[in-house]
Amino acid sequence: MFALAVGAWVIVTTQIEIFVPVWIGLIPLGLGFAMSIMHAAASLAHMGYALRHTELLFRQGVWWRELTVVPFNRIQHVETFQGPLERSLGLASLSVYTAGSGGGDVQVPGLAHEDAKRIRDQLLSQLNTNE
């Protein structure tokens, strides 16, 4: 959204041959930035996971909502990932893979590293139970 606002500003200033004061141009930029933060906050509010007896549930999305259900006995492997920023904040992402999925079927970002490890171990114990 922020990129869209910047793009719109560039188009307006380069294509329309009228004088636009700089402070007017900052309005869409500021709006775009504020909306990006609001969107991130709304994403956080709508994102969540749940571990049931037999399935992992993951929901996400602000406008287009998504709920993914992965039965434990379909999980092929589990992966935790930490980028430099996540490492500095003590966070981690968890990816769950099923057969034939190129990327992970479920990717849970922004988990506390301890939580990510705990969920990973829990899922792996479920996998071993189902072996």
């Binding site: 037999t54 399935e55 999305g61 406008w63 287009w64 909502r65 998504e66 709920l67 993914t68 259900v69 992965v70 039965p71 006995n73 379909r74 999980i75 092929q76 099923t98 057969a99 034939g100 999925s101 190129g102 079927d105 479920v106 189902n130 072996e131």
Partner: protein, 501 residues
């Protein structure tokens, strides 16, 4: 069985590696274009003999690399696994358990048939392309490999490509269908490849017509002067005749293509496998374990419906990512039902029809479609015309667009359908060509609900059934219906221990 010794593939594999290296070079030729141009521009390296010498060196290098690749390729058939070592500069060792083998594909091109060797490809779950390839091995090796896979996975894979194949009865295979002469005509006519070729030819003709005069094609001037002399009646006769002739030519090409590809086609069924074999010059053989089949996709175009036939593709794990699948180019209703019974469930689609009684999706699909792809572009178009002061007649264009979109949306809505049964899930979609996907509920790896703001307001949901061979989408379902479908799949998943179905 005890571990065996290392073996080499046939020296004919040198040609295979040579071709493979050239294909890989061809794929990255655009990357070589810039440095090559720079070399040509900055040096006097432009004379023909020098270019020939350079090409000779390059070919010698490629040939040497192919010989090295052949020399470095060794394999061993152990009791439980195939061990394959490849690579010239970067060595690779693959240990592939026979139990993990998803399907076995054998191929013989004309040269291989003359020299009596076979190209074997093995797929395993999760591999996007073939997991292992043994180019140019002796039929005896291929037989031994098949036998070991069969003993591990009980996959019966008869040797069909060697000179003296055993009888089908002795291998426990039965023939489900074969193709006769007029079937190639049906496949060729119904194939949309002819239409693609026609579109390409139309575009090429347009370019030729515009550029022909500039580049002084020898036939262009006489043709142009002859066309100018024609009166309107002759034009009226010429245009449809030319169109029909062109369409017939392309159909003929399509029929010949089908004959080359599917000559001597057989669909065979074993206890727990399906196998196809076909090909006039290059013989293809595909074997898939029934336990590994993920989805069946049946396609029927307008001509398919007119001739009451269909084509079926049998997907296994990784098919969407390019792994092998079985193609049955022509089926009838009874054969399709038989394939469904073998691959999905013995009791599925008992009535043996192409189209069972599908449930309809929500009518709001129609509203969402015509608003999104019809009304919004039409309003944008009309606004633009108003700004540009377009003539009144031009406003017919957005209206025409809107009417077309509504008509297309309605046909799509009518085509969409679903069937949730205890032992089968079937979905249907399409416009001119309908696609029916059939699968067992226990093949579903994960279930996904998706809701747009429009769907949320109306209590609807799009249900995605994720399998190991791709995702099947059911748009605009009532939430209760979607829950029923998801529950069916999740219950089926809970009842099974196999992780990759």
């Amino acid at each position: 069985m005890t571990d065996t010794v290392w073996q080499r593939v046939s020296p004919l594999a040198i040609l295979f590696y040579l071709g493979q290296t050239m294909i890989q070079l061809g794929k990255s030729i655009w990357q070589l274009a810039v440095p090559a141009t720079a070399v040509f521009l900055t040096t006097d390296f432009v004379s023909v003999p020098q270019i020939i010498i350079a090409c000779g060196f390059a070919l010698s290098g490629l040939f040497a690399y192919a010989i090295a690749a052949y020399w470095r390729t060794r394999f061993r058939l152990d009791a439980h696994q195939l061990v394959l070592r490849t690579g010239v500069f970067r060595r690779r060792q693959l240990n592939l358990d026979y139990a993990r083998v998803q399907s076995v594909a054998a191929e013989q091109n004309l040269l291989y048939r003359l020299t009596g060797v076979v190209d074997i490809r093995l797929d395993s779950p999760g591999s996007a392309a073939e997991e292992a390839r043994l180019p140019a091995v002796a039929p005896a090796v291929a037989d031994e490999l098949r036998e070991r896979i069969r003993s591990q996975r009980k996959v019966a894979t008869p040797n069909v490509l060697c000179d003296d194949p055993p009888s089908l009865e002795s291998t426990g295979f039965s023939v489900l269908t074969t193709l006769r002469g007029y079937d190639f005509i049906r496949i060729g006519i119904a194939s949309n490849r002819a239409l693609v070729l026609l579109a390409l030819a139309g575009s090429a003709w347009g370019t030729l017509a515009s550029q022909g005069k500039k580049i002084n094609l020898p036939f262009f001037d006489p043709l142009e002067s002859w066309l100018i002399t024609l009166d309107w009646i002759q034009w009226l006769l010429l245009i449809p005749s030319a169109l029909i002739a062109i369409v017939l030519c392309f159909m003929l090409l399509s029929i010949v293509g089908a004959w080359f590809r599917f000559s001597d086609f057989k669909l065979l069924a074993g206890d727990d496998t399906l196998q196809t074999r076909a090909g006039l010059l290059t013989r293809h053989e595909q074997t898939v374990s029934l336990q590994k089949v993920q989805q069946l996709r049946m396609s029927r175009g307008l001509l398919h419906r007119w001739m009451n036939i269909a084509s079926v593709r049998i997907h296994q794990i990784g098919s969407s990512a390019g792994a092998t699948h079985l193609d049955v180019p022509l089926t009838r209703a009874s054969l399709f039902a038989e394939i469904v019974r073998r691959c999905v469930s013995p009791t599925a689609l008992r009535d043996g029809r192409y189209q069972p009684d599908y449930g309809a999706i929500s009518k709001h699909y129609l509203t969402a479609r015509w608003r999104l792809i019809g009304a919004i572009p039409a309003i944008a178009m009309a606004t633009l015309m108003m700004v540009r002061s377009a003539p009144a007649l031009a406003y017919g264009l957005p209206v025409l667009w809107l009417i077309t979109c509504i008509a297309i949306s309605y046909v799509r809505y009518r085509r969409h359908g679903y069937l949730f049964d205890d032992d089968v899930i079937a979905t249907r979609r399409g416009l001119a060509q309908t696609h029916t996907t059939v699968m067992a509920p226990n093949r579903v790896q994960a279930v996904q609900y998706k809701q747009s703001p429009f769907q949320r307001r109306r209590g609807l949901v799009t249900l995605n059934l994720i399998t190991a061979s791709g995702t099947t989408k059911l748009p605009f379902l009532e939430i209760v219906v979607a829950d029923r479908g998801a529950e069916l799949c999740l219950n089926a998943a809970a009842r099974t221990d196999l992780r990759w179905h």
